[in-house]
């Protein structure tokens, strides 16, 4: 038997697979057994009610998608009255994703959601900071640290920081989040991208830019997750382009403790159960008894200096 469990701080997950925020909802309970998941992560909410971006909100790309949803939000009330009770019917820990316009609002919303039935709060810091020229919190180490600190002051739950990939150095932001007291990092959110219809000359999503997600982005986001994991000593949860166990294994080898599956859920609702089964099968085939032994097990190539080759 393979021990599939992994630990995020004091939280033990029965397996390392969970959905990415915004790519999962209650509808999934009509299709798969939610109790098989490592955790459940819900779509980001804000304190205010929001409708989100103008449609069209999606364009198909090669092996990927361009989504521009915005953060439509029904607010914390709806979350506490509808979603928390709904997911209380299932065993995996519930992770609430939040966003806000200011550091203080992040703290307040974290406090508001600190109820039984919620295990951790994920900070989506890819949204624009209203107090700093609209630059995303997650592009600025100070803002990142401040957000996480404000949340930690306001809740006893775990706080996860979901990093933005639209940065020059993800290591700097990762360290800032760790400094702020984050219990784990999620690396990462979607990469900013665009596409133009060459017949209409219009952008393919009304909002002009959106996030590119899905398989095509994996090599880039895997690199970012690796850099984040190298930079900190808290667990990193890998996210980006994961659709198969092979993808998940790459993230584990690169140093991630767990993984989030996003767009793949849209393509196949059995993506997560299949990743879990196939991870187990891989471990069995390779004689790995504890999946956590894969974490960070990448073997770098020996540096073979060209000069040294002369001796061979």
């Amino acid at each position: 038997m393979v021990d599939m469990s992994v630990s995020i701080g004091k939280l033990t997950l029965q397996n390392p697979v969970m959905p990415g925020s915004g790519t999962f909802a209650e509808g999934m309970a009509k299709v798969i057994d939610l109790n098989g998941l490592g955790a459940i992560v819900t779509k980001t909410i804000t304190s205010d009610l929001r409708e989100g971006n103008t449609p069209p909100r999606v364009a198909e790309l090669r092996n990927s998608t361009l989504f521009s949803i915005g953060i439509p939000s029904k607010g914390p009330e709806h979350y506490l009255e509808e979603l928390v009770p709904f997911y209380r019917n299932y065993t995996p820990p519930l992770v609430a994703s939040i966003s806000a316009n200011t550091v203080e609002e992040f703290g307040e919303l974290a406090a508001r959601l600190s109820v039984p039935g919620v295990a951790a709060i994920e900070a989506n810091i890819s949204c624009p900071n209203l107090k700093k020229d609209g630059q995303a919190f997650g592009m600025d180490p100070q803002a990142t640290e401040a957000v996480i600190k404000a949340m930690k002051r306001n809740t006893d739950l775990q706080v996860w920081a979901k990093l933005s990939p639209n940065v020059g150095s993800i290591a700097v932001i990762a360290r800032a989040a760790e400094q702020g007291g984050a219990d784990a990092l999620v690396s990462s959110n979607a990469i900013l991208a665009m596409a133009i219809d060459i017949e209409s000359h219009q952008p393919k999503v009304a909002n002009l830019m959106g996030g590119i997600t899905g398989s095509a982005t994996k090599p880039i986001l895997l690199r970012m997750a690796y850099q984040a994991a190298q930079a900190v000593s808290i667990p990193v949860i890998g996210c980006g382009g994961i659709a198969t166990a092979e993808d998940a294994i790459e993230y584990l080898l690169a140093g991630c403790t767990a993984v989030q599956v996003g767009t793949a859920n849209f393509i196949s609702t059995s993506a997560m159960p299949r990743v879990i089964d196939d991870l187990q099968a891989y471990c069995v085939r390779r004689g790995i008894t504890r999946i956590r032994d894969l974490v960070g097990a990448m073997k770098v190539h020996e540096a073979k200096l060209l000069e040294a080759r002369a001796g061979l």
Binding site: T23, G27, M28, D33, G52, P55, R57, V58, E60, S64
Partner: protein, 294 residues
């Protein structure tokens, strides 16, 4: 529209709770592995796909749809699934059918499917048409592929004892699809077309008023175009009959998760407050008076 009931085409499939830890009963949507029975051209642009489907798929209701995992073909590699309305379900034969227009990567891939091939049809999903109890007369107004969506409603309404008047619009009489099929399920079919101007919206409204005078409609339905939507909004208010419209939007998940497929709606008929709703989950069938053109 209180007092209305969603249309059950047949009882939900009974699933043995024991085989799945007691959760099966909750599973009403699935990635149905279907077998292609036929996939023939209807005309130069449309194909008719017949699939042998497992029980969960057969519980589909009129107006619901499936999200099809279109196969790659050549350099076309569709990444997302493609939404396709139920055209016909036959629980006895274990078949579901689709009528689709071949236009892009996904439908080109669909078009390559040979009998015997497997197609993963995710569903059934969405909120279908809601037939008022004891409905006696239903209007179905459709053009082009819209028919695919409306056909199961016509069949079902007839089965439930209602009379169905189907107005089929097309560019020319030759391009009308499914006229025979609708007649065979017992609908009164009126064909209107652009060549003789009978498809003119004023003429269509006149036809509806005449039929309503003969036997009052309990439900007006249409799909797709803004022009038909506006006509049904007018007629629905004028005749005081509920009107429903099936809409389309580009989709990501078809399971209410991604919020890609939204369109704007009035919070209630006549309200000035607008809100986005998901075509895949809150629809694709909506109250016409809450729907706005786009």
């Amino acid at each position: 529209m209180t007092n209305s009931v969603p249309i059950p085409l047949q009882p939900a499939p009974s699933t043995a709770a024991s085989s799945c830890g007691g959760h099966c009963a909750d599973f009403t949507i699935a990635e149905n592995l279907c077998q292609v029975l036929s996939n023939a051209w209807v005309n130069a642009e449309y194909k008719h796909l017949v699939l042998k489907a497992p029980p969960i798929a057969l519980a589909v209701l009129p107006g619901q749809f499936f999200h099809l995992n279109c196969p790659p073909s050549g350099n076309d590699v569709p990444y997302l699934r493609r939404p396709m309305s139920l055209y016909r379900v036959s629980p006895q034969d274990c078949t579901i059918e689709f009528l689709y227009k071949v236009q892009g990567a996904g439908t080109r891939g669909l078009a390559t499917l040979e009998p015997g091939a497997t197609l993963d049809a995710f569903g059934p999903v969405g909120q279908g048409f809601t037939l008022p109890p004891q409905a006696r007369h239903v209007l179905v107004l459709a053009r082009g592929v819209g028919l695919a969506t409306m056909a199961p409603l016509a069949q079902h309404a007839v089965q439930r004892g209602a009379r169905v008047t189907a107005i089929l619009s097309a560019r020319s009489p030759a391009l009308v699809m499914s006229e025979q099929y609708l007649r065979s399920v017992g609908a009164d079919v009126i064909v209107v077309h652009d060549q003789d101007g009978s498809s003119d919206i004023a003429h269509i409204e006149k036809l509806v008023r005449e039929r309503h005078a003969q036997l009052p409609f309990d439900l007006l339905t249409t799909c797709g175009s803004n022009r038909f939507l506006l006509a049904l909004q007018r007629l629905g208010q004028e005749l005081d009959v509920p009107a429903q419209v099936a809409l389309e939007q580009l989709m990501g998940c078809a399971l209410g998760m991604c919020f890609a497929c939204v369109r704007p709606f009035r919070k209630s008929p006549g309200s000035e407050t607008m809100s986005y709703r998901r075509v895949c989950w809150d629809g694709p069938v909506f109250d016409a008076q809450e729907t706005v053109t786009w």
